[in-house]
């Protein structure tokens, strides 16, 4: 009797799990001086995982593990990007963690387990696996935030993150239990079928939907469920903030798609969640951009900017069309690219005992390191949505999707708030180019960080000039999966 047919779609996850356990044990035999070996092994694992994902990719959805696991084009694309993002994170974080005593085996194993959680979420075709993947990711992240045990700020951030994350998980679970009560199944494809046919207990389905949207709002950090984002971003060690702020957004986008667009994608239900997402999106745009203006701490400012970006992402999703979902996916890819770069610069400027997290630390960066100032300029332009960077194109495609369904006024609101938001991004550019440096220390970085930051910064420009291939990929991925 063969229980699990076929096994190959899950090869990337299996490889990651086995290697994470191997690294967990191997690290015990490595002394602190040779910790770089663990680092290399982790990077090898992630690269191998990316290669496996690439070669097990296929256009048609494949279901396995009794329909609990799906391998489709969207899953492949997002998993590949997740692996690449985590590799980038670890390269950027290396010097930062090394001088702060966090360059330890636990950091890498937790990062790997978090990656595994993201991949499970991305490939979930069952509410149970979706939830388990989410918990795997969240638990690893809580621990990573608290890893710097002697920092009061980090401990407080971890506690807040943990309590609010548990609350969000509770909401999500309650919503899922209602879906189960209304339809009698937890499998996403079956749920989609049943909800399209219409169930007798439609009110229960919508009731569950409310809790699911609230839970997702928490996880995405959309207003009014955003309270944890600024505190966690600021309190966590910057390397971990980079982790929280970037790669998990792929997984968050995936579960939004799986739950809302796939499982509850029937027209009657789309009307229901569209309203809720609209409120969350508009509020996120407003509060995210307005609150970011007041911040003097760059990490906190980027946290509010994340909230506003999540508003844009929700705008793409709420259009409920293939183009809209594709635009949402494009937005999340671009967002992660920009976040990686921006936090990479923060990590680059931080030294032993010094966190380059205040806006004043960026004064006169142009005189200290013109190339890095230029990269930061590109990233900030992209976040503000100024052409020819890719941020402009991402915002444009989302707005197009919203206009397509005839919601002009929403597009107008979004444009107005991104104009307001442009102020605080451009303020950093002004500080870098037109103010005298306060901190004359030269910028030092190892070769790999420099090279990767350069690629990262230039990618924002290159993708902005030629966005079409990525856009086509996003739309095709969504079309093949929904």
């Amino acid at each position: 009797m063969q229980f699990i047919t076929p096994l190959w779609p899950a090869y990337p996850e299996l490889f990651l799990l086995v290697m994470a356990c191997v690294i967990l044990i191997a690290d015990l035999f490595i002394s602190d001086d040779n910790r770089v070996f663990t680092y290399g092994l982790t990077q090898f694992t992630l690269a191998g995982c990316a290669v496996l994902t690439f070669f097990t990719g296929n256009a048609e959805p494949v279901y396995t593990f009794s329909g609990m696991f799906v391998d489709d084009l969207m899953a492949d694309a997002l998993k590949l990007l997740t692996c690449l993002a985590v590799i980038t994170i670890l390269v950027y974080a290396r010097a930062y963690t090394a001088v702060r005593g966090m360059f330890r085996g636990e950091f890498f194993t937790l990062a790997l387990f978090a990656t595994l959680g993201m991949m499970v979420m991305i490939s979930a075709n069952h509410l149970l696996t979706l939830y388990l993947g989410l918990e795997l990711l969240s638990l690893s992240l809580y621990a990573m935030v608290a890893l710097q045990r002697d920092s009061v700020q980090a401990t407080e951030a971890a506690m807040k993150y943990f309590v609010l994350g548990a609350l969000a998980s509770g909401m999500l679970l309650y919503g899922m239990s209602m879906l189960y009560g209304a339809t009698g199944t937890l499998e996403i494809t079956e749920l989609a079928q049943l909800s399209a046919e219409g169930v007798r207990a439609q009110a229960v389905l919508v009731f569950g939907l409310v809790f699911i949207v609230a839970g997702l709002g928490f996880k995405l950090g959309a207003v009014p469920f955003h309270m944890w984002v600024p505190d966690v971003y600021q309190g966590a060690p910057t390397a971990v903030t980079l982790f929280i702020g970037s790669a998990p957004k792929f997984a968050a986008f995936a579960i939004v798609m799986r739950l809302l667009a796939q499982a509850l994608g029937a027209d009657a239900l789309v009307e229901e969640w569209r309203q809720m997402l609209l409120i969350m999106a508009v509020l996120s745009l407003a509060i995210g951009n307005l609150a970011a203006i007041m911040q003097t701490n760059l990490k906190r400012m980027l946290a509010y900017s994340t909230i506003s970006h999540m508003g844009f992402l929700l705008l793409g999703v709420l259009s409920g069309t293939i183009d809209g979902y594709g635009a949402g996916m494009f937005y999340v890819v671009v967002y992660v690219l920009m976040t990686l770069g921006a936090f990479g610069i923060i990590l680059l400027l931080s030294r032993d005992g010094f966190e380059a997290e205040n806006l004043d630390d960026y004064k006169g960066l142009n005189q200290r390191s013109p190339w890095h100032a230029f990269l930061m300029l590109l990233l900030m332009f992209s976040m503000a949505g100024i052409p020819p960077t890719v941020g402009f194109y991402a915002k444009l495609s989302v707005l197009q999707a919203v206009v397509q369904i005839g919601w002009w006024w929403v597009a107008v609101i979004a444009v107005v708030f991104s104009l307001i938001g442009a102020f605080y991004y451009l303020r950093i550019v002004k500080l870098m180019y037109f103010d005298a440096p306060q901190d004359p220390a030269p910028v030092t970085a190892s070769g790999d960080v420099r090279a990767l930051l350069t690629v990262n910064g230039l990618a924002v420009l290159v993708l902005g000039i030629a966005p079409q291939p990525l856009m086509v990929l996003c739309i095709e991925a969504v079309r093949a999966s929904i």
């Binding site: 937790l110 388990l132 795997l136 638990l139 621990a143 009560g181």
Partner: protein
Amino acid sequence: MFWFFAAILVFAALRVITARNPVHAALFLVLAFCTSAGIWIQLEAEFLGIALVLVYVGAVMVLFLFVVMMLDINLERLREGFWSYLPIGAVVALLLVAEMALVLSGPYFGLDEAPRPASSPAGYSNTKELGRLLYTDYVYPFELAAVILLVAIVAAIALTLRRRKHGKYIDPAMQIKVRREDRVRIVSMPSEKGGNE
């Protein structure tokens, strides 16, 4: 019978969060677990019911009680700010409860909507069926749950294990290998002239 258990369950759950004494709260949680195990057994999920009592009441709650008794929690400090947040919290909670009640009191919930499960034939083993499902259809989430537990262990150790700088821990192997030169320092000092004989 269901209503009886349900009433006790709701009462116990309420007492868990309202009891002033944390030990009482933990004991009410035990009561809540026992009554929900009763409800499960009524639904013919005997194995789950017994597992709930054994695992949660027997193991988890006992441990919990120990921790609660060991920790001297200062309740006054925890209650600080309770009254200032009460009005807004109460309004939000009441609104939520009212809205939920509106939906939940609809025609979709009630004893008619959840009929008794059909009785199983003689010789049907609940436990065996559960095991079969767990290792076939649900093997993927089962393994994931195991990974989550592993992460919990790694995280707990990473967060709490610290080598103390001034700990009194002694490695026996080092103790045996110790040499005289490690412990005794011979200091040659010039003899003092004219000292006390």
